[in-house]
Symmetry: C2
Subunit: 472 residues, 2 copies
């Protein structure tokens, strides 16, 4: 071996060494800086392939997810200001509560075990007429947001009165929501006539349009509480303002009979005839529908929200959810308001959905754990027509992520994470909640709400409600 | 006024003063000394009158309740070594889980969303054959006891193998239980033949009879898994030993068809014919029964345990619970084992029962909150034929008492405590659990179990189970 060769050899070695060093340095310089990493959890993406990473990583910059995958592959590519250690826990998309009346949490348990008509006319309507004010709605919504965040809900759809006050509370809580101002042919707590409610809606939409978390919407209460004239006006306004329509549809057999008698068609067919079926519509309940109506819902890309516990408690019936899913209808889940359920608990909604449709169809394979999770996440996103933004953990989507503990006695041992989340976990197992990139609950502690103040106000309103119902 | 008079006056005054002082002293001496007072809670007695004390007191001496009532009336009558401040919480009888297979908590989520036959033959039976040992049963039962105490269950009925090991774990946990050794015509994990299982039962009964918390029993698995000969032997042994019989009965339509084909009678009628119906019998499920069979269950004072979530998840059907209650049948609630439900959560069982029968009957007034609470307490006690000892808070009964927090966001505001407990509360809201006068959980902390050790063991068994199912 001559000297020249040796020098050449050394130079090459030096060069390679430098390149390697440079390479490492480059890698370090190119480490993407992100705001938040959620590391080490069993990470359920709920993407189209249903990918689950047993030791996962979710990287978040601003309000978006920038990467999701195996921690061991991805960890070296990111440096983050904050890291959430999710080892031993599940990491998944935030739950989507597709139908509720948030402020009614202040009426939780006011009257149960009653026939719908008695419940409405003897309790709910009088209680609402005497108590529902801007302030009531604001505090009631805060209470609902507290309960929903605590239980892993990151997006909800509301239908109530004074939606500007709802929006104020939701923005403060940091939840994502579609908020629909109720339209009724009867006098409502905030509008004596449907015309005034339509005007309220226009002002409300103008005020909140463009908020990063809030989508203002319009909520015609139901086909049986609004005239055809009102529903057509609602539809024209929604088209002009490009806002969603939230409506109770085909909830009870009484409604189906009533609408059929009045208009000569069952509710979904009637809504089709007057032009209400469209991708703009989010229809809650949809319990009593035949095959033709299911086909109409699919063809018009209507979002359907199933509320199993409310439908059971009010004895409304059992929605044909497996048939709607098979027909390609976009179905999500909801809790309904706390006056009818009586919680805003999406874990209960998932388990009850899976159990109810097994026994209703006689087939235990119907609505398995994965499908129940899908209904509460990506399915709900589709029903809200927000599937490009939320519902799964995928790069480019909004960062709505929850961390769910898996170490409570009712959750051990662990064989299958999807089964454990649907059949064995509770809202109280949720530890950390991130909405739009912001940590709103950390290890069970609410970071956006003054829960002590909410508790005091809730009790004050309760006393007023009790007094108002006693007064004649 | 002369001096004599003054002296006499003073003497009288002195005398009266002494008498008053003596009276006070006597009262103090007569203050009943008790071991434990639970003060200030909204106290639901679940007695025949359904009394609720808004500011209640429960006094406990040894293993018995000595007084229940209004705190302001009773407080001065007792002095206690320990006081539990229950202000702001509910105080009620411990929940009675009338049917489970405790050790199967180690199989929680092993296989879901399957047809019963596939579930049993592909997963449960092989997993049991390969894994169920004395040690497995002992640790699985400890895990179940942890979950049950945490969720407010104070009494349960078990049916499994190696019941001596179950009893060891239950005694350690401090739970009350009826423990039934399984009898099967097939080889079981602890007995190759039903004869051997009967012998095991005799030894088990001899060993545990007279324990303050444990009632040993015999558990013929079902009419379709035991021959008539075996069932008659079981009955004779139960009569001789004076022990309860725990059996799955009329769970599925397949069973009804099978028994009808084999014996020419539906399951309840068949059991009547062979002498199995008696106050000794605790029958789980009882889903598929006609009016005649319901009358038989009532006439023979059979205890029936409704397992709503298991029946829904396995698509077994909906038991005619409201009709059974109307017919005077003693009905209680159960969770079934964690391999089928997948939790041992009596709060879920109460809410699901109330909701399921409303939608099944189309009547929202059916099974109201009070009735659901009754099924889980005094109704369960009747079904277990233990209503003289447990199920309500009444002087002379065993001190099985739970304190349930009412201040979580899903529980405020409070209008009606029964509604809040059934429709809005969770197992995790239970704070303190007293069984047989002993505090076994205080403010969420288990006092009788080494939960860290249980967690480690549960994971070890999980690994073994997974390996055993992979091996051919």
């Amino acid at each position: 071996m001559n000297r020249k060769h040796t020098i050449a050899h050394s130079l090459v070695a030096l060069l390679i060494g430098s390149m390697v060093a440079l390479g490492l340095d480059t890698a370090r310089l190119e480490r993407q800086s992100v705001d938040l990493l959620i590391e080490g959890g069993i990470t359920l993406t709920m993407n189209a392939a249903g990918q689950v990473f047993s030791d996962g990583l979710v990287a978040i910059r601003g309000d978006r997810i920038v990467a999701v995958g195996d921690r061991r592959e991805l960890a070296s590519r990111f440096s983050a200001a904050r890291v959430i250690d999710a080892r031993g826990a599940a990491v998944m998309p935030g739950l989507i509560n597709g139908h509720t009346h948030a402020a009614m949490s202040l009426f939780r348990g006011i009257a149960d075990d009653l026939v719908l008509q008695e419940w409405l006319t003897r309790y709910i309507f009088p209680a609402e007429a005497k108590n529902v004010t801007r302030e009531f709605v604001y505090w009631g919504t805060l209470l609902a947001c507290w309960e929903m965040i605590r239980g892993g809900t990151t997006t909800f759809v509301d239908m109530y009165y004074y939606e500007s006050s709802v929006a104020k509370a939701v923005a403060q809580a940091g939840l994502r929501a579609i908020l629909a101002e109720t339209i009724l042919d009867l006098p409502s707590p905030d509008s004596r006539t449907p015309q005034l409610a339509l005007q309220y809606t226009e002002r409300f939409v103008a005020q909140w349009r463009g908020h990063p978390l809030i989508i203002p919407a319009i909520g015609p209460h139901a086909p049986y509480t609004n005239s055809t004239v009102t529903l057509r006006r609602v539809n024209r306004l929604a088209e002009r303002l490009r806002i969603p329509i939230v409506m109770h549809v085909a909830e009870t057999e009484t409604e189906v009979r009533d609408i059929t008698r009045r208009y000569g068609a069952r509710p979904i067919r009637y809504l089709d005839e007057i032009g209400l079926l469209s991708p703009r519509l989010i229809a809650a309940h949809v319990v009593h529908v035949d095959e033709r109506e299911i086909a109409l819902l699919g063809r018009h890309h209507v979002g359907v929200i199933h509320n199993p516990q409310s439908n059971m408690k009010l004895a409304s019936g059992i929605a044909p959810v497996p048939r709607m899913i098979r027909a390609g209808v976009a179905v999500g889940l909801g809790t309904d308001g706390a006056a009818s359920n009586n919680t805003l608990d999406m874990f209960e909604a998932m388990k009850t959905t899976a159990l109810l449709h097994k026994v209703a169809t006689g087939d235990p394979r119907v609505l398995n754990a994965h499908q129940a999770l899908a209904l509460a996440t990506i399915g709900g996103a589709r029903a809200l027509h927000l599937e490009k933004e939320i519902g799964s953990l995928e790069p480019g989507k909004r960062a709505d992520v929850i961390v769910v503990g898996l170490d409570a006695p009712h959750q051990i041992p662990l064989y299958d994470v999807e089964s454990q989340l649907v059949y064995a976990s509770r809202a109280s197992d949720v530890r950390t909640v991130i909405i739009n990139g912001r940590v709103v609950m950390r290890d069970g502690n609410l970071l956006t709400l003054d829960t002590a103040a909410i508790r005091i106000k809730a009790n004050e309103f309760r006393d007023k409600v009790v007094k108002s119902l006693k007064a004649k």
